[in-house]
Symmetry: C2
Subunit: 232 residues, 2 copies
């Protein structure tokens, strides 16, 4: 790093892969572009970083504009900086991924400029994406696959109270493989990071399952040891 800052018109953007889990399916939020380049293509939501905001703040701004939510689980993924990744000039983008809780209602911020353009897409049936966004998505999926096997990020995709089957479904959707029910429960309960509630699932047309909560306190205590989830 030298002293005099060079002047050169480089542009930063932030793009965000926003994951949600709905009806047993892992989905991401895409925007339909209505401008060139890539007009009418689907793209990851993104924006240009303002001179007075940090990159993290930029990423939070995306989420807030789209969903109205803040305090979302979010993490930087990778920075994509090929010279020709944007057809109109040099744009370096810092990619983030986020995990959000879908409640089944309308999740999009009603005042957002994106409100009519953003839709959830199952990750297994994604359209072609603008720019290098398919690559960014691939990388984000690899990242959460790896991460879910040693950190409790699955809970970020579920409501506060959830059943063990729902939890297992998140693991199966992200890892895209079936897990054994008994082993899953045994392992998960053994970690001691779930709190069993005195409460059952409601509104199902079959035997209701027990609800659980993720116990952040207990997790924090165990944090040093780092869990090793779901090797099978």
């Amino acid at each position: 790093m030298q002293t005099a800052l060079p002047k050169f018109d480089s542009v930063f953007s932030v793009d965000c892969v926003i994951f949600g889990f709905e009806e047993g399916v892992l989905k991401i939020l895409l925007i339909e572009r209505n401008e060139e380049p890539f007009k009418d293509w689907w793209a990851l939501p993104g924006l240009f970083v303002a001179p007075d905001e940090s990159i993290d703040e930029g990423a939070e701004r995306i989420l807030n504009e789209l969903t109205g939510l803040s305090n979302i689980y979010m993490e930087q993924l990778y920075t994509f900086g090929d010279v020709d990744r944007h057809p109109e000039g040099r744009v370096i983008t810092v990619a983030y991924y986020a995990l959000i809780r879908l409640s089944g209602k309308n999740e999009l911020h009603p005042h957002s400029r994106y409100a009519r353009k953003a839709f959830w897409h199952p990750v297994n049936e994604l359209p072609k994406l603008a720019f290098d966004h398919s690559l960014i998505f691939e990388k984000s999926l690899e990242k959460i696959r790896r991460r879910i096997s040693y950190q409790p990020i699955a809970f970020e995709l579920l409501p506060e109270k959830f059943t063990l089957t729902q939890l297992q479904n998140v693991y199966e959707a992200i890892l895209s493989k079936k897990l054994d029910k008994r082993n899953f429960r045994k392992k998960m309960l053994n970690y001691g990071i779930l709190k069993e509630l005195d409460e059952k699932q409601r509104g199902v047309s079959y035997r209701a399952a027990t609800l659980y909560k993720f116990d952040r306190r207990k997790y924090a205590k165990l944090f040093q040891k780092e869990l090793s989830f779901m090797k099978e």
Copy 2:
């Protein structure tokens, strides 16, 4: 991402944490700054990204200018973009880390502008670093600690032919803990990614150890399963 690219003078840099392993000690390469800001401080080697080079190319340029080497194991680490991380303006930096083989001879490129300013520092006795470089270093160390436990990056720090004790020393230095010799050897040989050579260590004043090579072919075959090294 919108259409019209905004004009705003943001500056990108690349900074690189370059790891080497010498005399049983893990070291990084630091530059002594002779300019403001942070004149006379130690800093990670870095440079500004040119308009016509990708970020990866920028990182390679650092390594090449410093060491004259190319084809080095290198990976993007994280992007640091706080508004005030550089006292003279907005500079976003993409950090990389690299692992290089030290042969004990002079490792610095003789024609480099850095030739007289770069020195290896043991990671356990680092000085304070300029900018947020201490933070970058911490993050790089976390990254290689995690990575070495599931990917064979230790070999990148060793000469092509090495002894099992040398290999164990790399693991111990990165994980900063002692490992059991018998268990280490058992596990390492079991993976089947080492080729035993018909050759012994030379120039030692005690019983010479067998030399091994990392067998990239065999590793590629096993790659799917992803090894899980050194949990103990």
